[in-house]
Symmetry: C2
Subunit: 528 residues, 2 copies
């Protein structure tokens, strides 16, 4: 990690939320700032070029993606300021708590996974004596196994459009071991992370703005962005904050009926479990109700299960929607479920590798052909990501040389994440006007803030959403980047922010101090 | 490579184009076969599930992608047959000449590139003594340099949505060295291969079917597929086969006017140089005319330059469209050019790594923000692909430890490709009724076949395009997979196929023999 450890410098922390440098004010009402430092007044100079905001696809214009939106651009500008003017602020580095990007905050990759990837990247060293000294025996063995599954051992070749068959077999076995029900490698589509898989399903299902997708509110903005880009309608269903972000079937029914009455044909229900940004884990009984609802209403169940390994409380467990539907007696031809999984989350956190898969069940052969065709237009996903997806679904087993170190690494990460979630949750709940549900899973806390009227007025004056105002002030005063709740949508009139639990554990106390002092200062400034 | 070397078994080659196994007949008129072996009659059993061909996005249904279409599924079935019944055919393996996938046909990766990738995947070994014995000194040095460019050295973290800044700097320097004109890392968007970059531009530019994109005919079907998926109109311009696939400005003008008269607003001109599937290399004077045309007609120039390193004739050279426009005095604000580059092509052929970039110039800051936002919805491209894209734009230099071996590997691949192109071109031109333009660049030959009337009638009876009929028969008789010209579009009434020049050189004589004997048999069967 670059920058100084804020834990070492409590004396520099200050509670004031005032910017020391008015010129770097973060309250300018620009929705998406350019990544280059071009003076906006120069825009007219481009009158000789053909593309303008008036002539681009309006779906692109309307699309929003808050997780990497304005707040991140402000953070990048602030980072640049710190680089050019070290000491200009009360903090020395920007802490990106806006996005589930564990390794950017110092989480180390699982050694076994990286050993195998390196060997598959450069198989020429597999037979060399030095390699035995550098790599574990089982990583060498696994690399040989994987290479044998790749036609011609060509890790640099395009694969089958669904991904390498042998790797899909491994993933299907992993799913079987997890669920206790059969899985078929022909149902697996390997993708560059879960996002392209979600896009593919939206592209398949959405014909026009009359097609709707039921999405939780709050939701991960990939869903709203993807629905907008594909020209459909997001049909919201609200999670109940009062019951730990409960998913009520009555709410699903009401929203479905409301959509139907507006002429919207609802095609699918998206469920994120464990929840993002909300961190709840669904109970099995709730999942059964959801399956029943999809079955009855003939909806595709889009099951975002990328946080399946991220569960931090003993009273909750992950169950895949496919498993739940099978335990209910529903088979392949009874219900359509797409399960999304990613190498970016879990204890592995390999976001940069862009690996993932979707398991599609309950689609007719002719519809599957169309999904296959869509996959084939982009040829295939990256092979390292494919290999990694197979590894996370079949990690070392008891008796393997790497098992003990693998398990120790995994356990250290997951138990630390659980502790961090608890500490941050308690800290947030101790703040004036802040309430925060339990982070049962995933990588986020989504606290609610009761903002004083004066703060809401100040935000209005700055032409910013109140939670955006709060997040901007927090960033400006502490260097901590969180995403305003409005980026995920929320019950109108309520305000939240999403904060990851990912900063390294030794930094958590300083973050709590910074956050607490900032919040106190903010409330002192704006309290009604 | 798996399978037996066909070169060793000329005695088994036969000229007959008759299938020995009628049950494996390849002439069934199915456009896209399922990858799973589900009996189509079972489809009705899915009546309990919500998604049918009638209710999916019709843009998906209308999209075609021949390079991985029917012919590949037929080949996969045949491969399965060979596996289950070895010796059932006159050949022992399927030769995939349908797609530019060099490593699938035995091309070896460039050692230096793979060394650096492996070290970046597992940086823990960088400081180990054994590593010195396994890796070249400059690959170790380069890995350190690259890791220093990645915030926190985290190769497993999401990067900036455009890609890691330091890698983009390297790429910009590589472009500057290539072109002799400045390049800006803020103009670079790293992507998972060139395909997602092309999709991104289509998504930006296409608002409805009234928006058109000028595309060469024949064209690489990514363009037609992407335009269909985004709901636009492909405005064709025909390359002139008689003048070596010449690109005539008068043809561009005529087609532009014709489109305008139908109410189509033409947004962009796609040019593939070197050509795919046609293999021609544009002259600089022709490129200047094209730039002038785009400037005058206010079209975005979509420059597919992924084959920039694949040039096989001494009288042709690659010039980027950006360079050509700069030599004409056009600057950043005069013309909009998007240059696509990929790690999949060139002498590296790293298709499975899914790396590439687009360099966008001549877009206003507010339009660039929108492109940035689109990139951010998918978070970032895979980091190994990003690293590789930087490596191909800055390979070892004279004096580096790896330089000599790197250069030898590169030169061996490119000079062998040139010889293969020449041999295959000559062989094709020697066939009755076949004419084939020179493969000046890229990885393909696109011969024209004068099909006898009887063959056209037989194709009609089999409900197949005549060139699809020819390609199916070729596959069935020889195991050689080529793509029918109709997959790329062609002048109506003419018939072609695309064949890569990628099989390893020692196999070329046997391929020529197989192809020649098949063609003779085919003509004997159908000659008018």
């Amino acid at each position: 990690m670059k920058g100084l450890d804020i834990h070492d410098r409590p004396k520099k922390l200050r509670g004031s939320s005032h910017s020391r440098n008015p010129q770097s004010s973060v309250f300018i009402p620009i929705r998406f700032l350019n990544t280059t430092s071009v003076d906006p007044s120069m825009a007219s100079d481009y009158s000789g070029t053909p593309v303008t905001l008036d002539t681009i696809n309006p779906k692109v214009l309307n699309c929003e993606y808050a997780v990497r939106g304005e707040i991140v651009t402000l953070a990048q500008n602030l980072q640049q300021e710190l680089k050019e003017n070290p000491g200009s602020r009360t903090f020395d580095e920007i802490l990106y708590c806006n996005i589930g990007n564990p390794q950017s905050l110092g989480q180390q990759p699982i050694t076994f996974f990286r050993e195998v990837l390196a060997l598959c990247d450069h198989p020429a060293i597999l037979d060399r004596a030095e390699t035995q000294g550098l790599f574990s025996a089982d990583s060498i063995e696994r690399a040989f196994q994987i290479l044998d599954q790749i036609p011609g051992r060509a890790t640099g070749a395009y694969s089958h459009s669904q991904g390498i068959k042998g790797l899909r077999d491994t993933i299907a076995s992993g799913i079987e071991a997890r669920d206790g029900y059969p899985a078929d490698s022909n149902d697996i589509f390997l993708t560059d992370g879960a996002s392209p898989a979600v896009h593919m399903m939206m592209q398949l299902l959405i014909r026009s703005e009359k097609d709707g997708i039921l999405c939780p509110i709050p939701q991960y903005p990939l869903y709203s962005a993807s629905i907008t880009l594909h020209g459909g309608t997001l049909v919201p269903y609200y999670l109940d904050e009062a019951t730990g972000w409960g998913l009520e079937i009555s709410e699903l029914k009401n929203q479905l009926e409301a959509a139907k009455s507006k002429g919207i044909s609802v095609r699918a229900l998206a469920v994120i479990n464990p929840g993002n940004p909300t961190g709840q884990v669904l109970s099995e009984s709730n999942q059964r109700e959801i399956v029943e609802f999809c079955k009855k209403e003939k909806l595709v169940l889009l099951a975002d299960e990328v946080y399946q390994e991220n569960i931090y409380v003993p009273d909750k467990q992950f169950h895949s929607f496919k498993k739940v539907s099978r335990t209910m007696g529903y088979g392949e031809k009874d219900i359509s479920i797409v399960s999304f999984q990613s190498v970016s989350k879990g204890y592995y956190g390999e976001c940069g590798k862009r690996g993932g898969y979707m398991e599609i069940t309950g689609f007719s052969p002719e519809v599957r052909e169309q999904i296959y065709k869509m996959a084939s237009v982009n040829l295939c996903s990256n092979i390292s990501g494919q290999i990694l997806a197979s590894l996370v679904m079949s990690p070392p087993k008891v008796g393997d040389e790497s098992y003990e170190s693998y398990f120790a690494e995994k356990d250290a990460i997951l138990s630390s994440l659980a502790r961090r979630a608890k500490t941050l949750e308690a800290a947030l709940n101790s703040l004036e006007g802040v309430t925060c549900n339990r982070a049962e899973g995933a990588m986020y806390l989504f606290p609610r803030i009761e903002l004083p009227k004066k703060a809401i007025e100040a935000a209005k004056a700055a032409n910013t959403a109140p939670d955006g105002f709060y997040a901007s002030r927090l960033l400006d005063a502490t260097g901590i980047v969180v995403v305003p709740g409005s980026g995920f949508r929320q019950v109108p009139g309520t305000w939240h922010f999403r904060c990851t639990i990912l900063p390294q554990e030794d930094r958590i106390p300083a973050i709590v101090t910074r956050l607490t002092e900032f919040h106190k200062g903010f409330m002192d400034e704006f309290r009604d």
